[in-house]
Amino acid sequence: MKEKTNKKEGQPTTGVVESGPDNAAALANQKLAKAEAVKEEMIHLIVFKLGAEEYGIKIEQVKEVTVTPNVTRMPRTPDFIKGVANIRGDIIAIMNLEERFGIRPVPLADDLNPRITYTLVIEAKEYSIGVIVREVPQSLNLSMTKIDKAPSFLQDININENYIEGIAKVNNRLIIVLDMYKILTQDEIRELKIN
């Protein structure tokens, strides 16, 4: 299975891997939502799970979603770098955000194949990286007003978590919106160097 997003086309329906009967309904909902959205500012997220929580990335930052290809491990790099993979001729770094953020992994649901993971190809300003997720990412369209840009708890977290852009609340779901452009800061890049 392989899907691609194409942000230039701006087609929300092609944006996400989704399977099963819910899909058509979800798409219909999206279209409906889109129609209503003309007045208010909308945000389109790709939503995936890390640990037990849901995280979201703005679709503009996601180049494509694909079944994780063969990843070649690179010895002597930080653990959260799973290696490099050949995605359409480009060789990009593949990272595991659970390990990067120290998120406790949860056991996978029984109906999911543990050997198949998905890779979100994130297009940062100067380079692309792949982010591994275990479940099929979903597409979600929501109003900007649903996102709490500066939740007060952010000050309570002792580390500098400036890659959290905000918290979205939709139908009892809490989605942590990440700013992928900030995910690899200069510090992290420095950490990659050995010696």
Binding site: L27, T72, I91, A93, K193, I194
Partner: protein, 544 residues
């Protein structure tokens, strides 16, 4: 820079002179053994090539004389003309004339053809060994021979590759000197290093230029290929070639040869319809296949376009959905360009039958891998009923490096040959634990040996580089590398072949990891890590 015509002319002259020398040798041989068919066939072949080459470049006198000589030798071969003394004399004269004409191309002096000689040639050709007609004496025009050597030399690509590698190394050192001169802030050093910079740049450019060949060397093989495939497919095809004189690195051309052949086969067997089908849809009976090349800044664009049935996007989508590569609903909204990318997936084929030339399970994924491996791109444009184009964007030049491939813990690695000294297999007992390292006696030299699996894969706190018990198996494959005149033996799990690789630099953020000089894609599409020997050596020294 010389003009292209000038270059072609020089190549022609060099080749023609070689033929001329060989002809002189062969005809002397033939004079001694007139019955030797092999020598005759060789002479015949050379004259034929000379005729064709001369005609192509417009030297009609040469092609004329070659033609007459070819005919004469044809008759001799068919035993219709005896190889008598008289005939031999005329043939020698004819070959001498050829030599004069070839040498005359580049000189101001117009070579005059002795009409008597031409008449003599005509006589032996026409009279069919009926020697009733008298052969006239020919005035020898060159009694004193000049011996000349050719202006062109043939060189093995291997040697050029080696030169290219050395230039690569030189550039690394040059950059180091350049930064040192800045640090030291010495004016004299700065002047010298900036001069060094310009020279090495020129050198790099010259070596790259020496590796360029015209795309025609590959394109010109296709008329025959197309003829053979279309005949067996019972199709009529007109192949049009353009841009043969575009220049490209010889190794790139080598790597894409099979891919291009594959695409041409595909176009003929699957793309272009049979004449009767074409007539039905109102297309000309003869299918058209265009193979063209053009330069685009740093790349060369090769396009293969047919006017066949085009790609059925619906069919591709259906096949993709059937193979669970995509969900049905998503497939509907996909733009065509994305649908075509499924064709490059392994094992994806729409071909129903296997023919002699196509559909043997080798798919477009192989083509894609080959193009990827040289850092090129491939894309498809197609319109149903109108035809399909494959567009290959290739780099003009690449830094191809010879490298040794090996495996450690199921990961492929490569080390550029420039750093490798030799490869040895040693029994475990020949390795000795000295202090906290392993050493071995290699050809009388005591060399430090390191188990790469231990160095790369064991947690740094657990690393024990001097512990033989960590080794697997009895016989150890060791690559001896040298850096800064210091030798180091690297023990690897499996040793593979030597191969030419294109090193791709690692993209950000991985480019800061200096242990790896880059990556390369193997023919299988697998990623192979290129180890940087200086960094490995440094890392080893620091760990110890």
């Amino acid at each position: 820079m010389k003009s292209r015509e000038q270059e072609y002319k020089e190549i022609f002259i060099a080749e023609a002179l070689e033929y001329y020398d060989a002809l002189n040798r062969l005809i002397s041989e033939l004079e001694k053994k007139p019955q030797d068919d092999q020598v005759l066939a060789e002479i015949f072949r050379m004259l034929h090539n000379l005729k064709a080459n001369a005609k192509a470049i417009g030297y009609l006198q040469i092609s004329d004389v070659s033609h007459k000589l070819e005919t004469a030798f044809g008759l001799i071969r068919n035993k219709e003309l005896s190889f008598s003394d008289e005939v031999v004399g005329v043939l020698f004269d004819g070959i001498d004339l050829l030599g004069e004409l070839i040498k005359g191309i580049d000189s101001e002096r117009q070579v005059e053809i002795d009409p008597v000689l031409i008449r003599n040639l005509d006589i032996i050709v026409d009279s069919l060994s009926d020697s009733t007609v008298e052969l006239a004496k020919v005035q020898k025009f060159s009694t004193s021979r000049n011996l000349t050597l050719s202006d062109l030399i043939y060189i093995q690509v291997k040697k050029l590759d080696h030169l290219m590698n050395l230039v690569g190394e030189l550039i690394i050192d040059r950059d180091r000197i350049l930064s040192l001169s800045r640090e030291l802030d010495n004016d004299e050093l700065k002047t010298v290093s900036s001069h060094l910079y310009r020279i090495t740049e020129d050198l790099e450019y010259s070596v790259m230029d020496a590796r360029l060949v015209s795309i025609g060397t590959l394109f010109n093989k296709f008329p025959r290929v197309v003829r053979d495939i279309s005949t067996s497919e019972k199709k009529e095809i007109n192949l049009e070639l353009t841009g043969q004189d575009i220049q490209i690195d010889r190794n790139i051309l080598q790597i894409i040869t099979d891919s291009l052949l594959h695409l041409v086969r595909n176009a003929i067997t699957h793309g272009i319809e049979k004449p009767e089908q074409r007539a039905k849809v109102g297309k000309p009976k003869v299918g058209s296949l265009q193979l063209s090349a053009r330069s685009d800044r740093e790349s060369v664009i090769i396009t293969l376009a047919d006017d066949g049935r085009g790609i059925d996007v619906g069919k591709v989508k259906k096949a993709a959905v059937e193979r669970h590569m995509i969900a049905g609903e998503v497939a509907d909204g996909l733009p065509d360009s994305e649908v075509y990318s499924f064709l490059f997936e392994p094992g994806f084929s729409l071909a129903k039958e296997v023919t002699e030339y196509s559909g043997r399970g080798v798919g477009l994924d192989v083509v894609k891998n080959a193009i990827d491996s040289i850092g090129g791109r491939i894309r498809i444009e197609s319109e149903k009923g109108k035809g399909t184009s494959f567009i290959l964007q290739l780099p003009t030049s690449i830094a191809v490096k010879g490298a040794l491939l090996f495996e450690i813990d199921s990961i492929f690695y490569a080390i550029p040959l420039i750093h490798t000294d030799s490869v040895v297999a040693l029994d475990k007992d020949e390795l000795h634990e000295v202090g906290d390292v392993l050493v071995a006696d290699i050809k009388g030299e005591t060399v430090t040996v390191v188990y790469l699996d231990e160095l790369l894969n064991v947690e740094e706190s657990q690393m024990r580089l001097g512990d033989k018990t960590r080794l697997k198996g009895q016989v150890q494959n060791i690559i001896i590398v040298s850096y800064n005149n210091r030798k180091l033996g690297l023990i690897v799990d499996k040793l593979y072949r030597q191969q030419d690789i294109v090193v791709k630099p690692l993209s950000k953020p991985l480019d800061s990891i200096d242990l790896y000089g880059g990556v390369t894609l193997l023919g299988t599409g697998k990623v192979c890590l290129v180890l940087d020997v200086p960094a490995i050596t440094r890392y080893f020294v620091n760990r110890r």
